[in-house]
Amino acid sequence: MLIMAFVGLVMLLSAGIAMVLYNERSYAETKQAQVQAQAAILAATVTAALAFHDIQAAQEYANALRTDGDVQAVGVYDMEGALIAGYGVEPGSLALQLRDAVAQSRDNELIVTVPVRQGLATLGTVYVRSALQPLSMRLERYAVIALLVTMAGVIFVVVIVTQRALTATNRELVRQGADLARANEELRNEIAHRQRIEEAFRQSQKMEAIGQLTGGIAHDFNNLLQIVVGNLEVLQLKLAKDADERRFVAAALRGAARGAALTQRLLAFARRQPLDPKPVDVNRLVVDMSELLHSTLGESIDVDAVLASGLWQVMVDANQLESALLNLCVNARDAMPSGGRLTIETANANIDEAEAREQDVQPGAYVLIAVSDAGTGMSDDVVARAFEPFFTTKDVGKGSGLGLSQVYGFMKQSGGHIKIESAAGRGTTVKLYLPRLVVDVPPAARAMPSAQNGQGACDAKILIVEDDDDVRTYTSTTLRDFGYSVVEAANAKEALKALASHPDIDLLFTDVGLAGGMNGRQLADEAVRRQPKLRVLFTSGYARDAIVHDGRLDPGVDLIAKPFTHTALAAKLHQVLVTAREHG
């Protein structure tokens, strides 16, 4: 731009100089032509006067040039060069060399001589001396041009500079506008992002609150059910084999069992079910489930398993995962009443920071299990409430409203998360994300439920610690029935005392939650410190932090969840004691 301005200025100056030079030259030429014309006219008119020596006439013709102020001298000379008429010339003869047509300029004057001819005869010479405009005057005239050029130059420079400034300002404005638009866009995105995060947070807060409530109720219910079930079982044992009353007891037991199952599911939602996580190959788990799925879902549902190769392992309670998948598959079936295709897909997935923030989960590597159906789909409102306990879209009596809640709780408790992608009429995909197991442990064969029962129990001595008198009484009765020696304690203090007085106690069977300042875990730690060979079996209405961390039992910890049947208790005791012997 500056170069342009400079070039423009130089061009302007050059034009000015060229104009001056042209003017100067043009002036000289014009002036010479003008004086030559004047001399020629005089020469033409003065012929007769010269020929017939009419001095007066010649003088009159010469005087005619006085009207031109620049003409300083005029001379009319005869053939001999003698001055006949004129003014401003030195009297005397004209130099011979001037008799021909000559134009010469010197200093500030121009001298022109023209021969006077009539026909072919030369009669004399006319001499005209004219003043040229003095250089100073001409320069003054050119000063106007110079001034104009300068002004034009100044205007030119001002225009260029202004143009530059304007262009720069425009560019800056455009840039600022773009910045503003970008900032605005970022702000909008940020607002939308925050809204999503807040929504996710609200959702998780809500679920957390419902979980707290549900967990609390379920815990108390479990204790109550334990009493009901325990006493019913005792009653059943005491009734004659063929007594009619057995039917009523069995019905009551079935009802209690259903209640227990319900509280179990509530606990699962509240993330308070005891889990037994182990390294699991999800692909293998899905393959193993195929038979079960086929029989559960019926002939009208085609199950497709799309299993990723090189799938990572996960650390999860395999039984619960199986149960969760079954739950999802049943839901999928229900969404396709006239049959259809159900797809179970596995894949490795990475959740980055941004997505994790939005979903309110931890970023990292996950194993994805997606269960998709081609069914009726769900509206956004339904998706938003799908995990709430007792929320169901199924007909009354068809669904408990706890299936997805249970899966949700299980996933959260397992450090993963669950996501529903659905649109009404376009089917539903439920995605389960389980954290990748980084330490590579060969997946253990899933423990099959033990078929063992109370029969064949050994003669071990068991210390029962339970602050609920009814539960303790039931438990001790049951254990004695199994053939165990039983020592009872209502709290940790009593338990330690009993332990001191009965050093032959083989197993400590304690509730995790105890009244009196010391919980079951702390009691167990202290007891094992005193008697290293002591085995410990915990029981609990729900898993507390004391023994369950992040949804997982501490290694080496055995637990039986309330309410338990005496068969389950017998099997668990047997397992713990036998394991102790094997290791002991």
Binding site: A48, A49, F52, H53, I55, A57, M79, I84, G119
Partner: protein
Amino acid sequence: MLAAGFRHGVAALAACVAASGVVPAHAQVPSLSLEHGVKATYLHKIAAFVEWPASAFESADSPLVLCVAGNDPVGKLVPEAAIGRTYGMREIVVRRIAQPAAAGGCHILYVAGLRDETITAYLESVRDKPVLTVTDGAPDRRFKGAVNFVIRDNRVRLEVDLELATAHRLVVSSKLIGIAARVVP
């Protein structure tokens, strides 16, 4: 003023005559011979300001014939004054004639120093011819040629009779008319 004008006029005459080469350049005194010399010079100078029809000349290079009739002192000076003079590319030759009948081949006919009847006879003899008739100091139009010498302010001046010149099929230059003492339209 008059004296000064006279002296100037005489000096101019002298210069003119000197230029014509008739009298010595140092002649300072006005005299009849000076006046005659000037007139003799003017006779061939007039030719430059007059155009003759082409038919007036036999060929492209035939000379311009200046005839002198009468026993006039000017006429005696004319041959010498016209030596080497030209009219364009044409040579100017001087011929003295003694009879009006001889004036037919003239281009310029100077008639002076004769009786009025004789002058009239000469003028009449070339009435329809392309001849520039020149007379000297004729008082009456009957005796004047197309050009008539007169003395004004001590200087030899010309009277021009354009009507007569036109009658002779001659074209007189406006330059000559411009300096004429009197012009008969």
